[in-house]
């Protein structure tokens, strides 16, 4: 398996990802990684045939990154995971897909959290239309996807 590493900046991320989209690559997953000192690494793993491309960015805590669901609609669940497990803010990502709202567990994959930094359960972003944990409603996604050509290269 050939693996390509590609480091880029958050500003340049969009164009890189769009290139992958144009190539017809498949977004395998988005990996989040706590580098400590309030820095996070986000890796977008792409696959096309036997080749893999990892696009890596590094961001500061609290920096919001753009969503890629416009190009890869199934990335919403991955972005929600970033939000749930790391507290990385992704535009439009719905919270509490993996962790129950109000359960007190939040950002479990962060490293060396100091107790006072731990955000309280009540501070977590609320779902707009609770009581239902209305997470990934298809309809709005469908609307968001309109105008984007379906399918990849072939």
């Amino acid at each position: 398996m050939q693996v390509m590493e590609l480091k880029t900046t958050p500003e340049d991320l969009d164009s890189k990802i769009y290139k992958m989209f144009q190539l017809g690559a498949r977004l395998v997953v988005i990996t989040g990684n706590d580098l400590g000192n309030g820095k996070f690494e986000i890796i977008y793993h792409f696959s096309k045939g036997a080749e893999m491309t990892n696009i890596k960015i590094e961001i500061e805590e609290n920096r919001q990154i753009e969503s890629v669901t416009g190009l890869f609609p199934y990335a919403d669940i991955m972005e929600s995971e970033l939000l749930d497990y790391f507290g990385i803010k992704v535009a439009g990502a719905k919270p509490n897909v993996f962790l129950e709202a109000g359960s007190g567990i939040c950002t479990p994959l962060r490293k060396e959290k100091k107790p006072e930094e731990k955000p309280k359960a009540t501070e977590r972003p609320k779902v707009e239309d609770s009581p239902a944990k209305d997470l990934m409603s298809v309809v709005d996604k469908k609307l968001a996807n309109k105008g984007i050509p379906k399918g990849g290269a072939d």
Binding site: M1, V3, G24, R26, L27, V28, V29, T31, N33, I43, H45, S47, G49, A50, M52, N54, F72, P73, Y74, D76, I77, D84, Y85, V97, F98, L99, E100, P108, L109, A132, K133, D134, L135, M136, S137, V138, V139, N145, K150, G151, G152, D154
Partner: protein, 365 residues
Amino acid sequence: MATGTRISVVPLGAQHPVLPEPVALKLSLEEEKVVDVGITLGYCHRGIEKAAELNDFKQNVFLCGRVCGICSHHHTTTYVDVIETMMNIEAPERARLIRTIYSELERLHSHTLILGLIADAMGYENLFMQTWRDREIVMDLFELMSGNRVHYDVNQIGGVRRDIGYDMVKKIDKGMDALEGKFKILSKSYLNDPTFKKRTKAIGVLSKAEAHTYGVVGPTARGSDVPEDIRATGDSHYAAYNMLHFTPQVEEDGDIYSRVKVRVRECFQSIDLIRQTIGHMRDGPIAVRVQGKPNGEAVARVEAPRGELFYYAKGNNTNNLERVKIRTPSYVNIPALRYMIMGEEFAEVPVIIASIDPCLSCTDR
């Protein structure tokens, strides 16, 4: 005045007879037609990624086996593969062949399981029972080979922990003959039964373009005419697929029936692959010594029964890993599920769910 805007909102899950594992689907129904779907995950969240950071990297093999009960061998294989890649270890050929036998047996056991569940989801109890009875052959082989029916834990970094003896090989061969005979009869029910066809044809369709758009993997993708099979991409130094002859099974229609057909044919393919593998078995070591500590980053992919299984690991030159990321096949198939369900009847929803073979404990880790 007839009204068309009356919507019922109905849960399917988290606990529902058709779901083997908890996932909550919130279905908006117009009469019984699904017009919107919401999915909630995380009921089986066990923090395995976090636990993998806390354990020794060698212990993690057993931890990763616990991510999923059905495809535990594939999880350990992928983990072992990612570490071996990171540490530049090559497992001996016999170990790779043994891994292949386990993988393909596991595929048989997973596919027969879900085929039975698909039959059950549409109320075809008889077929379900028959399928699961024949699955026992595979389970018995596992027990024979590893002493366990579900979690075999034969992998270790640098090879496998248990050898397969000559007697076992013969028994596996016999088991494959028995299974093939029985499965030939069963496959007629899956492929030709008129009521089964009525419940599966042109239902839950995911076209080729949509399969690309939603990034599905495994039999779900291959049912939609996407010939994606990690075994066939030459990316298989973890196992012996480059020594075997096979082509990915692909169906064009993208409906439930296609997915079923792909799985049925893959079962026969797996039987064939096991026979080929047995033919390649030569004496030799089953493991190499592992020295040093993992450092750097690596990714690994394996074709699990449900599709591409992906691991990412990052080491920091200690016994503990910095990060292990597990991306299971259901993780990308479940979001696509929403698009398959949209516009279908409520009655078809359980069958559609079963048809992608969702594994929630994998997905939630």
